[in-house]
Symmetry: D2
Subunit: 349 residues, 4 copies
């Protein structure tokens, strides 16, 4: 069976990546692509790398255009999904790449986003440890899926095994991320101009204001419901690479646990995962190794001098961080093999 698909926000970076991955997915047909201001133009004018989709024309993003497909992807600015989702009730599977349906706590939504709160959907990070289970279970047969925030899923995957196993203390997490500017979208902002990014590192949202913080707290709380208060110092730094997240996350070692126990927490969590890998001791990942791939690579160090575990994670923000997570979740929801249409190999150098 071939599923018909519509992708909104198709002229942007997230929408473009969803299309790039779907274009080589054997079980879907990309029938409709939509955009707002660019409606009526050829898709190829906005996504010149998607040669196999050169026949498609951008339509207006309206519920009418999106309805009537088996699957609809929403790649819209935050806060815009809700207006469509009510009118897409007949669509069997809707996947939102925006933030609107990620948070379960309306107070967190108010504090970090504001505007009307929307109900949470199944969270699209299958490998996430949830107590003694994985998040995968919530995605089987799901009809509404919220793809994760790219930074959030990277950090949650980095730390959830240790929190769930009780070997690290989640009350004093510190995370610093080197991120590429594609995560910010095609926004016309001075600080995203090439001249402002080339040759320089640029921090933003310093001091606890980044919108992915509550999403991480929610995921880690789910990993270990009894873990108590979860506190995160979170600092993203824009660096001159178009894609990629390299997240360095540290948390205090729980007194009394052994190195073997620590390493085993991550090894056992990810031993059978096709897309999340713990590298051998002493190895740490580069973002180049996952470019274009749906892979998250983790390196783990136990720093007894500092009293902290250090997890370095590499993710392609547009793939495993967004579009790949969406399609992996789609595969699970539809009962397809989970890895269909997704590469584990990066494009390097």
């Amino acid at each position: 069976m071939t599923f018909s698909v519509a992708v909104s926000g198709a002229s942007g970076y997230a929408g473009g990546e969803i299309l790039r991955l779907l274009a080589s997915h054997p079980d879907v047909e990309i029938r409709t692509v939509t955009a707002h201001s660019n409606a009526g133009q050829p898709l190829i004018d906005h996504q010149p790398h998607l040669r196999s989709l050169a026949h498609l024309t951008l339509q207006d993003t309206t519920p009418e255009v999106l309805a009537g497909h088996d699957i609809v992807f929403l790649a819209l600015p935050h806060g815009q999904s809700a207006q469509y989702t009510d009118m897409l009730s007949d669509v069997p599977l809707v996947i939102d790449a925006g933030a609107d349906h990620r948070l379960t706590d309306s107070a967190a939504w108010d504090a970090f986003y504001g505007g009307a709160f929307s109900e949470p959907w199944a969270y699209g990070v299958p490998e996430l440890v949830v107590g003694s289970e994985k998040q995968r279970g919530a995605l089987v047969g799901a009809r509404r899926i919220a793809a994760p925030g790219c930074n959030a899923s990277t950090v949650s995957l980095s730390l959830a095994p240790g929190v769930a196993a009780g070997v690290i203390d989640p009350s004093d997490i510190v995370t610093v991320l080197a991120v590429g500017p594609s995560g910010a979208g095609k926004s016309l902002k001075t600080n995203l101009l090439a001249s402002e990014i080339l040759g320089t590192a640029n921090p933003y949202a310093v001091g606890g204001t980044h919108r992915h913080i509550p999403e991480i707290r929610q995921a880690l709380a789910a990993a270990a419901p009894a873990a108590g208060d979860i506190r995160i110092s979170f600092t993203p730094v824009l660096v001159p690479m178009s894609r990629g997240i390299l997240a360095t996350s540290t948390a205090p070692i729980v007194p009394g646990v052994t190195d073997v126990q620590i390493r085993d927490a991550w090894e056992s969590a990810y031993a059978d995962e096709p897309f999340v890998h713990l590298l051998p001791e002493g190895s740490f990942p580069r973002t180049a190794d996952v470019l274009g791939a749906n892979t998250a690579l983790l390196g783990l160090a136990i720093d007894r001098s500092a009293g902290r575990v250090v997890v370095v994670a590499a993710v392609d923000n547009l793939v495993k961080g967004t579009a790949g997570a969406a399609i992996q979740s789609m595969n699970i929801a539809l009962g397809l093999p989970e890895t269909t249409g997704l590469s584990v190999n990066g494009v390097a150098p």
Copy 2:
């Protein structure tokens, strides 16, 4: 008076930057440049950007060649300075850009470097808070100066005011740095090839093994002798910019201190400094803003949710991190105006 200068290691990056700065310093004459394998070749072949020094030829690095100058800069691989310094006893001022004379603790030297321990020299970070004083005092009239490690001085300048003022707890510092590859020198290593650095972020020395860790601990211990144990989780990440360090350093807020007390610690420490600046509340620096300059820019956030102070610091690793620190220290040692020959303005964009 004009001081005669010799610079060893003149074909490398640190030596080149010392020369670039000295070339516009009004009180020195660059008389001699030396190298090892490149001796006999024109300097301009190795430093094609130094047009004003096109007349110089690299000589062999020997004590005989270096002797007889008023000032000698050593920009040699770690462990190589000691063999020269004994034989340069008649040189009035020797400044070492290597690590050999930075550490006061031979055990720390053994643990992180190894080989014969050399006596510590005056540490070349004038603005560093040392109890109620500044490190500047130790440099007045100094005859032997150790220029700092670039990452070490960046982190020490970031945190020393707060440690000295007792507003942050130095026993659980976490620092993650985005750094350019020029800090690693002109070494022919696969991981420093352009194809391995472009478009990717690459962590190294993860888990407490970086050699600048004991240097930071030493500086912060000097900032507040009663501060107790100093522990640092330290992770550097190579990013695709030739120069620059963006260090994100966090430490727990000491219970009971107010936001005003915290901010005042840094403001009062650096209010009168020509080269170290605390940015206004809500502002954070980019490395581009200090490219080519002897400036360290700091941004400070107080994250009460995380219970941590976050200091983001931008430094040009080759200037304020190495060569500029050396020349600023030289100015102080010689009684020249401290800012002579050093720019506070960066080259941007």
Copy 3:
């Protein structure tokens, strides 16, 4: 049927890209990977992005190890293939990614490479216009194939249609290429260090010395045997992107030809090609649009003021320039669908 494959030079960039593409090719099994100094080590240590091949170990590059496969890829430094090819006579298909078997003219080999001349093999650029035919024909059923030089094939594809159609004059071609450093391989050379490439453009092989010049002359002479003397001013410029070639090639307009005749030369040549595309009038390609893809994108301008046609071509040097060309040629040689295992879509942004 599944073909067994051995890839030599598997720890390098060209070898790595051959493996990346073969890993998703449905008709081959990668049985053997070899290297010289790295023999005995896991492939993943040298190609950490190739997760699906993490089970492979590098063997020594010897004829014995390579023999016994259906297909052997040689990704060795220039001049090293010949020693293996004699001993691989029983291997049904050998594809050389090096230069050894590209040139038909031993004098050109002597002038630009030197050393023993090897017999030419079928040249692996299927879309190349050869008189009224395409090079594709020479690849059907071929047992020995020479993959092209990346710059050479980019320029040849750019100009062959116009030369063959007689609308441009090949006696005064000027080509300037912006190229990424991965084309130079993993060589440990100072000028390939990241600090030497980041933030700068760096010309090399200026003035007619680049080894791809005779390869272009050979291809264009084959395109139009009566075209007369072919002269090329060829200047490559290293720029800070890991992959990609953006070639700007110009040639004088032949007097009397119309704009329609010019444009038609390229349009008719590439109308049915799956991997080579002429963009619409006024559109020009970026290298990002072909990153990771086996696509060559061409933009054509007719500059009557200058009296020249300008063709701008974008190619991924490691894919369409090397590994993709090799595998596309393999498909043709083996009678497989030509596009098997090769993507037309780039990875952007």
Copy 4:
């Protein structure tokens, strides 16, 4: 004597670079900085690298604010200078960094810019060969100066010596330039976003439409008034470096001239110039070598196989291409030493 200065367009890239250079010029006082939409804001908010000018506030760009200074720099979008210049008649020296006063031919202005034509001012490229003279002479005592286009001056300096000496044929020039995005200013355009520039090369204004073409033709015609028709194929390519122009310019060798005659044309033209240098035979420049410097470095190859001279030139578009040219011209106009406040050394790596 200290000259008072006003700089308009002070929040942009060209204005920022004029300020950076003036900040270390001993004979001027920066009294006024102006902008349009950003008026009223601190300069440091828009130029965070200019620490020494942190005390300045942006004023509105009006003739009243600009009047009353000894020197006024106009760094405004093309076409906007004229409205100010009439009202600044009392200002002793006005230097325009825009295009309004560069062209002497109103037809060329109409064809490439459009809008009202403004009278030409003294062209600010002192080293340009003008027959048997240099352009410098026209700048002595000048009261109105047009700073050059960055690409135009780079190409004109590359070829004028050969055209003037009659050793190259200016009727078939081909130039391809690798350029950084800062030349396009702080414009909010999608194609200037970091995600669109990082990791890719991007041609623009292909086919003879770039506005700097008539400026080059004008300069080369002045170099050799009897040279006849001047035709240029000109293709700029955006590459991922914030600053810099690497121009590869070729022209046919005039029949009968010797290699010595060719090389001597450039050597004799620039032998005594402080800022323009011909590198030794076989050497070619990188843009990194001139970053932040007012230097133009040229490499020359004589390619007899192609029948062309190749000149590769490296220039910092914001310094020698714009702001440095303006200040060098200012020095000449005011009778100051020509090199005052300008560096010949680049910032590398």
